[in-house]
């Protein structure tokens, strides 16, 4: 009888110790998981903040670019830098009244049946100072 009670107490102690170990492990695991959660959440927040920062810089840059492209500034730069650019007018526009497809086919095949290759003539007018 004495043996049995001692064995029971021993088993109880073992059970308690095992329970404590298990409980502790679960607790530690939970803490570790919560820590991981916290790290992940922080990493996510940092990423979101970084994305927001990039978007902000991108918006700022777009505004700057648009500001630099405003017509009034481009005109001023044209004068300051002596680029000599002029607004587009009708002169370089060729109005095509005939069938566009036929016209393109004719242009593409112009040199096909001749021995002499068609070389585009480029005339360059040099500025005279």
């Amino acid at each position: 009888m004495k043996k049995d009670s001692r064995a029971f107490v021993n088993q109880l102690v073992i059970c308690v110790l095992v329970s404590m170990t298990l409980g502790g492990s679960i607790g530690l695991g939970t803490v570790w998981l919560r820590h991981q959660n916290s790290l992940t959440a922080k990493a996510n927040t940092a990423l979101v903040a970084r994305i927001a920062a990039v978007e902000r810089r991108s918006d700022e840059m777009k505004t700057l670019i648009q500001g630099e492209m405003r017509p009034e500034l481009l005109r001023r730069r044209n004068v300051e830098m002596g680029l000599g650019l002029v607004p587009m007018n009708e002169l370089p526009i060729v109005q095509v009244t005939e069938n566009i497809t036929d016209r393109m086919v004719e242009r593409a095949n112009r040199g096909l049946f001749t021995d002499v290759p068609v070389v585009p003539v480029v005339r360059v007018k040099l500025a005279q100072h």
């Binding site: 009670s5 001692r6 107490v9 920062a53 648009q66 492209m69 405003r70 017509p71 009034e72 109005q95």
Partner: protein, 655 residues
């Protein structure tokens, strides 16, 4: 069973201690979680709760080609907590001053001002401030107390004063208040802020906000409108479509740690910020620029009181360009003097004027539609009086004597007497009905806001002479946009379209939420009548018409001049006129309608009178010529036959 290895006594003792500990823990947990639960939760919630608001970004306003007209970019209000400064950072202060664009002395003054003087009781004289003790950082910072009043909010929480400083509240009102945040600069860019952060001066930090900017300055100012310093949309599309643009601020509730940092893992509730929608306007940046250049030229040459130009597509009603002189810079709206606030108004839709002879398209189209006349019907335009329903009615005068004119000649030579006779033929009721059908006397639904309805009295209220004056554009007032849309009726085969300014609305993910399309208000006249009137209007810009100055080579131009005497102190002035030209081209297949209205340019006009043909028609031509290549307007394949038979009357009649 295994043999035990411990004595009974020890085991029982160990077990008792263990159970005792667990029991104590259990009791404590029970007390914490059940008995004191509410009180503890309140304390914790108060100490750790963290409410963070997220400001929604206001949507962009774009032009038809995608260029940005209005945008919100992030800026920072950078300030300093003088109590958080470290002595070892002092050597970085000069560099910080350079980054902030502040004189170093000013930066030092702000950094070293750590207390704010207490609020002076009424009537109290200025007292010497107490000397400052060395700061918490351990280094001596001299106390510099500007003679300013301490500001705290009603709730006792720290509040920002006019100087941009946040002072700590305290029980003793007479004690100097600690400054916990003093503004250094309020418009720091992200890039500069990044440099400041890199510099690493502890205690200097920034508060982010969205700043509205307009990259094109004054371009399209009256259409776009602006957002004021209180972040309230004040005018234009900004105000009228504020609901879509402003978005909705978000917030999130979580917890913070002992240092005030957010603990994202304890986020409990979150409503993300819904950024504002972007608005795409039908305004074409190039067209708008051409229009504004032309207005600048008009202003330089004629120094008018004001001027407006509208360019639109008659097939859809979309406005491609609209501008007024004088104008203002959207980024510097606050610099407009108070006595010049009128320049911030979109005069093209908010101001009314007597349209004058341009209005003649209404009685002509109405008479043709009612089959009362044909283009060849002849009227005696030399009469002074005419019988109308048994009473003699006086006819308006002409600038030049005119004889018998066909209806086509009445319009191309702008005969007032002819227009009056057409009005008499129509009668009050029909003339009024057609004027309304052409869009006069009612708002057109311009989406840019600020629109007025003009003045067109119901025909029952007309005076005896109104039936002869309204057909020539007197006794009726309209906005420039109304006159523009009336001419568009002729260009759009007789249909009055709603003037459209917005093409689409896009959400923050750039997906189209809504697309606008052509909206018909109603049919004014049949397509046949509209084409007939268009053909007659072609005579205006040809040799023999009132405005050959508006002719564009290779294109048939249809249009009408107007030279309206201004009402000065109740009388029509002979020295103050409103010159206008409203027209479209190519006349047979209209692609563009242009209105040019110039108010009071007489003092610089040739001959001292600002005729529509001389002042407003040339800008029409110049704008039209430049738009050909921009909008790919094809020339007329075969020029239309002359709309007018050769007429024998004095040339140069201009109205």
């Amino acid at each position: 069973m295994s043999k035990g290895y411990a004595s009974n006594y020890r085991i029982v003792l160990l077990a008792s201690v263990l159970f005792g500990c667990f029991g104590a823990l259990g009791v404590r947990l029970f007390l914490l979680h059940v008995v004191d639960r509410e009180a503890l939760i309140k304390t914790i919630a108060k100490a750790r709760e963290n409410l963070i608001s997220e400001t929604a970004r206001r949507g962009d306003i774009r032009e038809a080609r995608g260029g940005i007209l209005a945008t919100s970019s992030s800026r920072l209000k950078v300030g300093v907590d003088p109590f958080a400064l470290r002595p070892q950072d002092e050597k970085k202060w000069p560099e910080l001053a350079v980054l902030l664009g502040l004189p170093e002395s000013e930066l030092r003054r702000i950094f070293l001002t750590r207390f704010r003087a207490p609020a002076k009781p009424p009537g109290a004289t200025a007292t010497n401030a107490p000397a400052g003790a060395p700061g918490a950082t351990g280094f001596s910072l001299s106390l510099n107390l500007p003679n300013l009043t301490s500001v705290t909010s009603a709730s006792g929480a720290p509040a920002e004063d006019d100087d941009g400083a946040i002072v700590e509240s305290g029980a003793d009102e007479q004690a100097p208040k600690k400054i916990r945040w003093a503004k250094l600069r309020s418009d720091v860019s992200e890039k500069t802020h990044a440099d400041i952060v890199k510099l690493g001066v502890k205690g200097v930090y920034g508060e982010r906000y969205y700043h509205r900017s307009y990259p094109n300055n004054q371009l399209g100012a009256h259409l776009i409108g602006f957002v004021n310093r209180q972040q309230e949309a004040a005018s234009g599309v900004e105000a009228n479509l504020d609901f879509f643009l402003r978005g909705q601020n978000g917030w999130r509730v979580g917890e913070r740690d002992g240092r005030g940092g957010e603990l994202p893992q304890f986020l409990t509730r979150q409503v993300p910020a819904a950024h504002g929608y972007s608005i795409t306007l039908s305004i074409d940046l190039i067209v708008q620029d051409i229009v504004e250049q032309e207005l600048a030229l008009i202003a330089e040459r004629y120094e008018p009181l004001k001027a407006s130009i509208i360019v639109s597509d008659p097939r859809t009603g979309f406005i491609l360009g609209m501008a007024n002189y004088p104008t203002f810079n959207l980024n510097e709206y606050h610099k407009v003097p108070e006595d010049e606030m009128e320049r911030m108004k979109n005069a093209a839709v908010a101001d009314i004027y007597e349209p004058g002879s341009v209005f003649k398209i209404v009685p002509v189209a109405a008479a043709l539609e009612e089959r009362l006349v044909t283009p060849q019907t002849i009227f005696n335009c030399a009469l002074d009086k005419i019988d109308h329903r048994g009473k003699m009615r006086s006819l308006p005068g002409e600038d030049h004597p005119m004889g018998d004119l066909t209806v086509a000649e009445i319009i191309s030579h702008s005969s007032n007497k002819g227009a009056a006779q057409l009005g008499l033929k129509l009668g009050e009721e029909k003339l009024y009905r057609y004027a309304r059908a052409f869009g006069f006397g009612a708002k057109l639904g311009f989406p840019g806001g600020g629109e007025v309805s003009g003045l067109l009295n119901p025909h029952q209220k007309w005076g005896p002479i109104d039936i002869t004056r309204i057909p020539m554009g007197h006794s009726v007032s309209a906005t420039v946009l109304q006159m523009h849309q009336a001419m568009s009726v002729i260009a759009a085969d007789g249909v009055l379209l709603r003037p459209q300014l917005i093409t689409e609305i896009r959400d923050a993910a750039n997906d189209a939420v809504f697309r606008y399309d052509r909206v018909e208000i109603g049919r004014a006249v049949s397509p046949q009548t509209a084409r007939t009137v268009a053909t007659m209007l072609m005579g205006v810009a040809r040799k023999g018409g009132t405005a050959p100055e508006a002719a564009i080579e290779g294109y048939d131009v249809a249009g009408k001049t107007g030279t309206t005497q201004k009402l000065i102190e109740g009388q029509y002035s002979k020295r103050h006129h409103i010159a206008s030209f409203v027209g479209f081209f190519p006349a047979q297949k209209p692609q563009i309608v242009i209105s040019v209205v110039i108010d009071d340019a007489d003092h610089r006009a040739p001959g001292g009178i600002a005729y529509g043909a001389k002042i407003a028609a040339p800008p029409f031509k110049r704008i039209g010529e430049r738009l050909i290549s921009v909008l790919y307007i094809k020339p007329t394949a075969q020029p239309a036959p002359p709309a007018l038979p050769a007429a024998n009357f004095p040339a140069g009649g201009r109205r």
